[in-house]
């Protein structure tokens, strides 16, 4: 099951660990630089908003169980700050990584559409899936987002 290699010395292992670390560092630096340089904000936003139109009819028609619930707005605001604000900005007005959620495309979208986007992400454009948050928590975020429309 295991094989003994006489040549495998601690110094060699440290060297290989260093190489592993350097490779990891190159990936971190390389991808972050590539992402920083290639982020064409306008094209990115357009694609992200276009993803709203891809929500299936069945998903769009889902009703928000927390509609008009002030507690859900508060809870959704807390969740937004914890999970979304880094990319979309603390006031949801957009940041370098994520588009504004105050724009008409988002604010006029049906709650079911927003839940679908949260659940499925826009993986190709950098938005991860958020189905790891339970569905009630995703609805709370949707409730919070739609409350911004009236502020």
């Amino acid at each position: 099951m295991k094989q003994t290699f006489a040549w495998f010395r601690p110094a060699g292992r440290m060297g290989l660990a260093t190489i592993g670390g350097v490779v990891f560092g190159i990936v971190v630096c390389g991808t972050s630089r590539a992402v920083a340089q290639k982020n064409d904000a306008a094209a990115r936003m357009k694609s992200t908003y276009a993803a709203l139109a891809q929500a299936p009819e069945k998903a769009r028609e889902k009703k928000n169980p927390f509609e008009g619930d002030a507690q859900a707005v508060a809870a959704g605001g807390k969740l937004f700050e914890q999970h979304c604000a880094d990319c979309h900005g603390r006031k949801a007005g957009g940041a370098r990584k994520g588009p504004s959620l105050l724009r008409e495309e988002v604010q006029q979208a049906k709650p079911g559409t927003l839940l679908w986007i949260l659940t499925n992400g826009v993986v190709r454009r950098g938005m991860p899936v958020w189905s790891k948050l339970p569905e009630p928590e995703r609805w709370q975020i949707v409730t919070f987002l739609q409350s911004l429309n009236s502020q």
């Binding site: 099951m1 990936v27 992400g121 899936v129 189905s131």
Partner: protein, 302 residues
């Protein structure tokens, strides 16, 4: 005129290093909703540009030898929304023996489908360069059994594992429940070694599905509990469950609003080939936007 003491490149490098250290110390992190699994993987990847720094410990009992405390650090980086890359550094202390560095692992996970489905597959590829003294038991494979770890560190370190590990991470989340199943195949890159097989599987659920409106440390929504089971399935020369070890481990994660996650697991050996107890704990912190920060320090767009 004052003579220049240092070449210009040294202060620049020092400034960049100091800036990096200060940036990390004062870094804004974001609350992660981490799964409680320590061995099993679900299909959720690291958020793009985020670095999760993790430390884990495993205390293991050892019949016919000395108990041990194995530990590892993980640096998990979300390269994109569909690709996460990770570096592990492993070590262990065997009581009444010694403390040794046991090797490193580089791992990549690739999300195969763009959207959520009933079952979500993720491809996992790992290269590991570890010694036989590695006891973190992050995977239990092939015919791995407790007696493999009974020798002294000096003897175990002579063994060398130079392996490629492949996993298919299958995971599904429904009504708050996550079910994850990981079939595993491992090949020691020495030609004479067989493929080894293993499994890891887990079920978990947050203790509350709705968030409370206020920030709180002890809200039920901050806790995710579950159970995982893992073990070996033999190898291509001798498939089956004989001479394999298996574990059942209740697990819990506590996602703190202060951006830290704490995980606990007590794994119980299910047969005579298994360690009786593998007590594990881990602590992690996610640094969101880490990639952008590094990119800016090294000349990326501000």
């Amino acid at each position: 005129m004052v003579a220049r003491v240092f070449p210009t490149s040294i202060p620049r490098k020092s400034t960049a290093l100091i800036a990096l250290i200060f940036s990390l110390l004062s870094y804004h992190s974001s609350l992660a909703q981490e799964s409680p699994y320590i061995v099993t993987y679900n299909h959720y990847l690291e958020e793009p540009g985020s670095l999760e720094v993790e430390y884990f410990s495993t205390f293991g009992t050892q019949r016919g030898g000395n108990d041990f405390h194995a530990f590892w650090a993980e640096f998990e980086y979300g390269a994109t929304a569909w690709w996460t890359t990770e570096l592990y550094l492993d070590g262990q202390t065997t009581f009444h023996d010694s403390t040794v560095f046991t090797g490193f692992r580089v791992e990549n996970r690739f999300r195969l489908l763009q959207r959520e489905h009933l079952v979500n597959p993720v491809l996992y590829i790992e290269y590991e360069q570890i010694s036989g003294a590695d006891k973190i038991l992050k995977e239990v494979e092939g015919h791995d059994v407790e007696s493999d770890f009974a020798d002294s560190n000096s003897a175990l370190r002579k063994e060398h594992q130079h392996e490629l590990e492949l996993k298919l991470l299958l995971s599904s989340t429904f009504k708050g429940w996550n079910v994850a199943v990981n079939p595993i195949a491992t090949k020691n890159l020495s030609p004479s070694e067989p493929w080894e097989f293993a499994y890891a599987t887990g079920v978990s659920r947050p203790l509350a599905l709705k968030a409370s409106p206020n920030r709180c440390n002890f809200c039920l929504e901050n806790f995710v509990a579950g159970v995982e089971m893992y073990g070996g399935l033999g190898d291509t020369q001798s498939a089956g469950l004989h001479d394999t070890s298996h574990y059942l481990a209740p697990v819990v994660a506590w996602n703190l609003p202060s951006d830290w996650t704490v995980r606990l697991s007590s794994g119980f050996g299910l047969n005579d080939n298994s360690h009786r107890l593998l007590l594990r704990w881990g602590i992690s912190r996610e640094l969101s936007g880490f990639g952008e920060m590094v990119g800016r320090l090294f000349g990326g767009r501000p």
